[in-house]
């Protein structure tokens, strides 16, 4: 059978390791053997009730939600402008929006280090204009993590919204204005509700991608910002507490899947 190799690969290297990973998240930690064979709910209890970890989880949600909302507003504005542009300009605008995607997340975080560093572009400009007298510390703050994540996520939000707008019947807005609606009202009551599936799809993507980010908070957030992804990375790579790391990863992935299915399910209803 031609599909046997693929099935075997997925079974052996995808499904089996992930099942084992899930199982380990329910095992007791041991400093000498990484994990023991004693089943326990301890890891999940610690993550969900220990204030150290609940803060990280809540921070992750807060940062991801902030990024999602900002990205949605900005990408919506961009999507509208994309519509209004002529076809040459639109091509350029699309290219410029996709261009940052070609750089990986690491290169882009480095870009922000250069722009926002102590002697970076922003600080130099602010110092030169006399707005500030000593450089502002941007690196290592939540603000910078959010800026970089928004920067990273805009394309993921832009294209679902653009598709949703493109699918709308273009007679609807003229119809609304014929019926006496002012442009703002036509937008709020016709265009916006109809583009909801696109906004939702984009939000689900942006939220899950932000919540799972490791590199951006590590490079730009320093010790000030802790997100679940980093915590998993540290637990597994430096503390070697596999059971706790696995449980943290499982909580993260579970949240991502729930958000994804919730949004997609509702988007389908709305569409």
């Amino acid at each position: 059978m031609l599909l046997a190799p693929l099935g075997l690969i997925y079974l052996l290297f995808l499904l089996a390791p992930i099942s084992f990973f899930l199982a380990v998240s329910f095992l007791k930690y041991s400093a000498t053997q990484l994990y023991t064979s004693t089943p326990t709910l301890e890891n999940y209890q610690r993550l969900l009730f220990d204030p150290f970890y609940t803060r990280i989880i809540l921070d992750t949600f807060r940062i991801s939600a902030t990024v999602t909302v900002i990205t949605a507003v900005l990408a919506y504005a961009m999507a509208i402008e994309l519509f209004r542009a002529g076809s040459t300009l639109r091509g350029l605008m699309i290219f410029a929006a996709v261009a940052p995607l070609m750089l990986g997340v690491i290169a882009r975080s480095y870009g922000w280090i250069v722009v926002l560093g102590q002697s970076g572009l922003v600080n130099r400009v602010l110092l030169a204009t006399g707005l500030i007298s000593s450089p502002i510390t941007f690196i290592g703050t939540e603000f910078t993590v959010i800026v970089a994540l928004v920067h990273f996520m805009i394309p993921y939000m832009l294209f679902p919204i653009f598709s949703a707008l493109a699918g709308q019947d273009r007679q609807l807005v003229p119809a609304a204005s014929t019926l006496g609606a002012r442009p703002v009202r036509a937008f709020l009551e016709v265009t916006l509700p109809l583009s909801r599936p696109g906004v939702m799809m984009g939000s689900a993507l942006v939220f899950t991608l932000s919540a799972g980010s490791i590199v951006t908070p590590t490079l730009l957030g320093g010790r000030q910002v802790a997100m679940i992804g980093q915590t998993v990375y540290e637990l597994v790579m430096s503390t070697f507490n596999w059971p706790l790391g696995a449980a943290a990863a499982c909580i993260l992935v579970l949240c991502q899947l729930v958000v994804m299915f919730l949004y997609l399910g509702r988007a389908r209803h709305a569409g």
């Binding site: 690969i9 290297f13 995808l14 390791p17 750089l103 480095y110 870009g111 807005v173």
Partner: protein, 285 residues
């Protein structure tokens, strides 16, 4: 997480669209245009700054254009940790591409010709690694290494093959769909053996699609962070991970030079795909 090419409906974006469903009055229109212009500055700023600082003669990213130098490019090619990571990344991407393309072709052919009505199910199942967050894939492979005596390198290759398979399968299925099964049947009737039909009829017909799928797989592997972040070890560190561990401690325009080289490579590949099959077709996968 779903990879970029899957969720960006570029083909749809590039096709002519119907005109706005949005009306704006003068003031709002100007305000919106301003906002979006600023947004583009925001989007492109880090890239422009990185590229420009890679030509800086000093550690600072401000300099006069006449002083532009290739110093950081020389330093990049003189730094053994970066060059060996670059070669390793290229090697890994090449191996991954070959493996993912061979398995991808066999699977795509199987899905299209032998699954009949269950084709859709088969195709969705083949996309499985795309649905699963990549961090989970790499973490569980790393954990499995504590039980299975496999070298770390093997796990890294397996991880990369896994995340590339959805791309090669989808790409090859798309181009195989364009092949009339009657052509294969005709060759078969004329006495060609099955392998010969495959090699002399099917493969030449889908060659451009296969090649673009290969380039996609190469780019996905070359740019991967999530898998290599956990599965890279001493001697098997990919370029992105080498950069990641470097800039955690230090920030030098060498990284800007490497990043610029990466941009150039991706643009080059993009142009190549464009020449080959047209970017629109390629992005449809």
């Amino acid at each position: 997480m779903p990879a970029e090419a899957e969720i960006l409906p570029l083909a749809q974006l590039a096709s002519p669209i119907r005109r706005p469903a949005i009306e704006l009055t003068g003031f709002a229109r100007a305000g919106l245009a301003m906002l979006v212009m600023l947004l583009y500055v925001f989007l492109l700023l880090p890239i422009v700054v990185v590229v420009s600082s890679s030509f800086s003669p000093t550690r600072s990213d401000s300099y006069a254009w006449s002083q532009a130098s290739l110093r950081w490019y020389y330093e990049f090619f003189a730094a053994p940790n970066f060059t060996s990571a670059l070669w390793f990344s290229l090697w890994l991407a090449a191996v991954t591409t070959v493996v993912a393309t061979v398995i991808g072709f066999i699977s795509a052919y199987g899905i299209l010709r032998f699954l009949g009505k269950r084709r859709r199910t088969g195709q969705s199942l083949a996309m499985l690694p795309m649905m699963i967050p990549h961090i989970l894939i790499s973490l569980s492979l790393l954990l499995a290494l504590t039980r299975v005596p496999l070298p770390e390198l093997a796990a890294l290759v397996i991880g990369h093959v896994l995340i590339c398979l959805p791309f090669t399968i989808a790409g090859i299925v798309a181009s195989l769909e364009g092949v009339d099964p009657d052509l294969e049947a005709a060759a078969y009737t004329l006495g060609a053996s099955r392998p010969r039909v495959l090699l002399e009829v099917t493969v030449p017909l889908v060659a451009p699609g296969v090649l673009s799928a290969m380039i996609f797989a190469f780019i996905v592997s070359f740019g991967d962070v999530d898998i290599a972040l956990f599965l890279s070890g001493p001697g098997t560190t990919t370029l992105p991970i080498e950069i990641f561990s470097y800039i955690q401690w230090e920030s030098s325009p060498v990284v800007a030079a490497i990043t610029t080289v990466q941009i150039a490579l991706v643009v080059l590949f993009g142009l190549f795909v464009e020449r080959l099959v047209g970017l629109k077709t390629a992005m449809r996968i």
